[in-house]
């Protein structure tokens, strides 16, 4: 009887010992990521991937990331696969990263479509998914702790400042009617629906034109003529980069003038749009002011200016990736990873989850303030409303005009 108790005691002691003993620190932290080098999502995916790589290289140049679980700096190893914008391939590769490569941290590809397949896979394998910019509403549910949105807000809250501005300054300047033209995909469709709801709730500005067009639409001449026919004061065009380029060029070609014109990517990917559309067609266009064009005061990581300089050094002009919001998103995701590693108790995925959620409301970077809803949706990092205003000859500067506490210039509303 006594010997049995002794044995039991011994067993307990051994068990406690093993539980307390740290596993040996790994030689490297494995980070798995996907990118799309070709196909429809390549133009958003490549800058994100490049931004993230910049962070990895920088971290490794400093001897690795500080990992609290092991109390020391450990180099990072990035395992990145190309899904070529195919969801079927992406699904296989997400699984490959989890089940074959046993990565410590899993980073999704950009955009909702390529992120979507990763969400259930990550959940099934209890692997936390760092969702860079997949804003799909279906990803975030209370019963799934294994996903969080890093770098941009969910589409339902993103366009808030547009309607606020129009209901406030816009209404004062006599803007009464608005036309909304959107591309029918998850990202822009959700924003359009949200905006329509905001306008109806505010009751200050009336929606007189609300039409979706296929995302592949590349000519807007007739659509613009049709919008002109209902004579709205404001026109909001919500599309992807290709849509915005075509819309803005066609708008200039058509010679139609509206008092307030909004396009997402005119600011979000300013360099790219400016190259393709030209400064004259962009003058006085309203847009989001992305973190690549706004000076937040970061508490972690580089400032926007420093990051832009580092980017230009690593990817000099003429290389195939353009600086813009997506570049910041990639780097921003790196910063979340950095802080999570520096604070997580262990590399257990729930500890990673806890560490990431603990950053909510506290992490201030060049992308604004990182705030997570309980289900993992990003509700911070909302971009101010901005306007492209002329600066000298043939040059444009992106001025934040709303909300007032973030504004660094005054809005010019057309006559």
């Amino acid at each position: 009887m006594r010997s049995k108790a002794l044995l039991l005691g011994l067993l307990c002691a051994v068990a406690a010992q093993t539980a307390r003993a740290q596993p040996p620190a790994p030689a490297e932290i494995k980070i798995g990521a996907l990118y799309a080098s070709s196909g429809p999502y390549a133009s958003i995916s490549m800058p994100v991937s490049a931004g993230f790589r910049l962070w990895v290289d920088q971290t490794n140049a400093n001897g690795g990331a500080e990992v609290k679980a092991f109390g020391k700096k450990i180099p990072l190893k990035l395992i990145a696969y190309d899904d070529q914008s195919s969801t079927a391939t992406a699904a296989t590769l997400y699984n490959q990263l989890i089940t074959r490569d046993h990565v410590d941290l899993l980073i999704a590809d950009s955009g909702s479509v390529l992120t979507s397949v990763g969400v259930p896979i990550a959940k099934e394998h209890k692997q936390f998914l760092f969702d860079v910019s997949g804003t799909g509403a279906a990803f975030f549910t209370d019963d799934n702790p294994y996903v969080a949105l890093m770098a941009d807000p969910v589409s339902t809250i993103w366009p808030h400042y547009i309607s606020d501005f129009l209901a406030d300054d816009g209404a004062k300047a006599g803007i009464k009617t608005v036309a909304i033209l959107f591309s029918t995909n998850d990202f822009t469709g959700t924003q359009a629906a949200a905006l329509k709801g905001f306008f109806e709730k505010d009751g200050k500005v009336k929606v007189v034109y609300y039409q979706g067009v296929p995302t592949t639409t590349s000519n807007y001449t007739v659509l613009i003529n049709n919008i002109a026919a209902v004579n709205p004061d404001a026109v909001l065009e919500l599309g992807y980069v290709g849509n915005d380029i075509a819309f803005l060029r066609n708008l200039q070609d058509s010679g139609n003038q509206f008092r307030f014109v909004f396009s997402i990517y005119a600011g979000v990917e300013k360099e790219e749009i400016e190259k393709n559309v030209g400064a004259s067609a962009l003058t006085h266009i309203y847009t989001y002011v992305p973190p690549s064009n706004y000076e937040y005061v970061p508490e972690v990581g580089m400032t926007q200016k420093e990051f832009h300089a580092a980017w230009d050094k690593k990817y000099p002009p003429g290389s195939n990736v353009t600086f813009g919001a997506n570049a910041v998103y990639g780097y921003m995701t790196g910063l979340v990873v950095e802080r999570a590693l520096a604070t997580a108790k262990s590399l257990d995925q729930m500890d990673i989850h806890d560490a990431v959620f603990a950053l909510s409301g506290k992490l201030k970077t060049l992308d604004g303030t990182f705030i997570l809803r309980k289900d993992g949706a990003q509700i911070g990092e909302v971009t101010p409303l901005g306007q492209l205003q002329p600066e000298g000859k043939d040059a444009l500067t992106l001025v934040a005009v709303y909300p007032p506490d973030m504004a660094n210039g005054k809005a010019v509303i057309g006559k």
Partner: protein, 310 residues
């Protein structure tokens, strides 16, 4: 004569069983389940396409339309009726069959006309499903989430069962009078009609079977993957992959499409994981070379020497 026929059936069935068992066992051995699942999907799709192309000569470039219809048939029943997954699978099959019946008139077209028209049909179904005006029904472009019925193991073995049924169907077609009459129609429809073969009936049955398989595969895909967008379910590359695998292996045979999938999709995954940067180029070049140097598929290396390939 009778003995050779029985021996052939036994051999064909043996091969089919070996593939199914191998894919079943592989799940316990190899941990990237999704890769295995995608193999099963493409094995079944390539064989489904084999039924219509190999036995009747019609190549539907929009084969993915049935796959997408199946995926959404599954999703709609599960989302709106909260039905269990197996009811969803039945709905997937029905959705594809309904679409196939609607598209029956396309069979009056020939060659590239048929191929292109079927692709347009698949695109049209996609445009309808993905339209925001139908958000209340299909969730439009915003994608569906079927977390309630998510069951990786059950859906994996269901996919395997679909594959088994498909392979047996091909075995039957290769060894039955019906299959022979289909091939006769393919080679010379006028003579076949004069010999008393019902051309229209034969083609219709092959078309419906082929669509049914794609629909079931689409349904099980929806079940297994559980979160997806219309772009995923109607991705044209699904058609293209299945077609390339089928042609590479060799149509009308049982082994051809199997080899096609195992070799080409195998290479695809190896390149994708080992040398992702030249992925697309390597794959494109491979396709070009295959069509130029092995236009009748791998099995033609043997069949052209008079050797029968199962």
């Amino acid at each position: 004569m009778r003995n050779t026929r029985i021996r052939r059936i036994v051999l064909d069935t043996g091969i089919a069983a070996a593939v199914v068992i191998a894919m079943g066992v592989a799940r316990g051995v190899y941990s990237n389940e999704l890769m295995l699942f995608n193999f099963i999907i493409f094995l079944a799709l390539a064989q489904g396409l084999n039924i219509i192309y190999g036995f009747t000569g019609y190549l539907p470039f929009g084969y993915v339309g049935f796959y997408g219809a199946g995926a959404y048939g599954f999703a709609l029943v599960v989302m709106h009726l909260h039905a269990p997954a197996l009811i969803g699978m039945a709905a997937a099959g029905v959705a594809a069959l309904v679409l196939a019946v609607i598209l029956l008139p396309l069979l009056r077209l020939s060659g590239a006309y048929f191929a292109i028209a079927s692709m347009a049909a698949a695109q049209a179904v996609y445009e309808i499903v993905a339209n925001p005006d139908l958000e209340d029904i299909t969730k439009g472009p915003y994608g569906v989430s079927l977390a309630d019925v998510f069951a990786p193991a059950f859906s994996y073995y269901t996919a395997l069962a679909i594959l088994a049924a498909t392979l047996l169907l091909v075995v039957w077609l290769r060894n039955s009078r019906f299959g022979m009459s289909l091939q006769a129609i393919r080679d010379d429809s006028i003579s076949a009609a004069m010999a008393g073969v019902s051309v229209v009936r034969g083609r219709t049955i092959a078309w419906l079977l082929s669509a049914l398989i794609a629909g079931l595969v689409g349904g099980v895909f929806a079940w297994h993957i559980s979160v997806f967008y219309p772009d995923t379910a109607f991705d044209l590359s699904v058609s293209i992959f299945a077609t390339v695998f089928l042609l590479f292996g060799g149509a009308t045979t049982l082994c051809g499409p199997l080899l096609g999938v195992f070799i080409l999709y195998g290479i695809y995954n190896v390149i994708g994981i080992a040398v992702p940067q030249y992925f697309q180029f390597t794959y494109g070049a491979l396709i070009v070379l295959l069509v130029l140097f092995l236009p009748n598929g791998l099995v033609s290396l043997l069949t052209s020497r008079g050797i029968r390939v199962p």
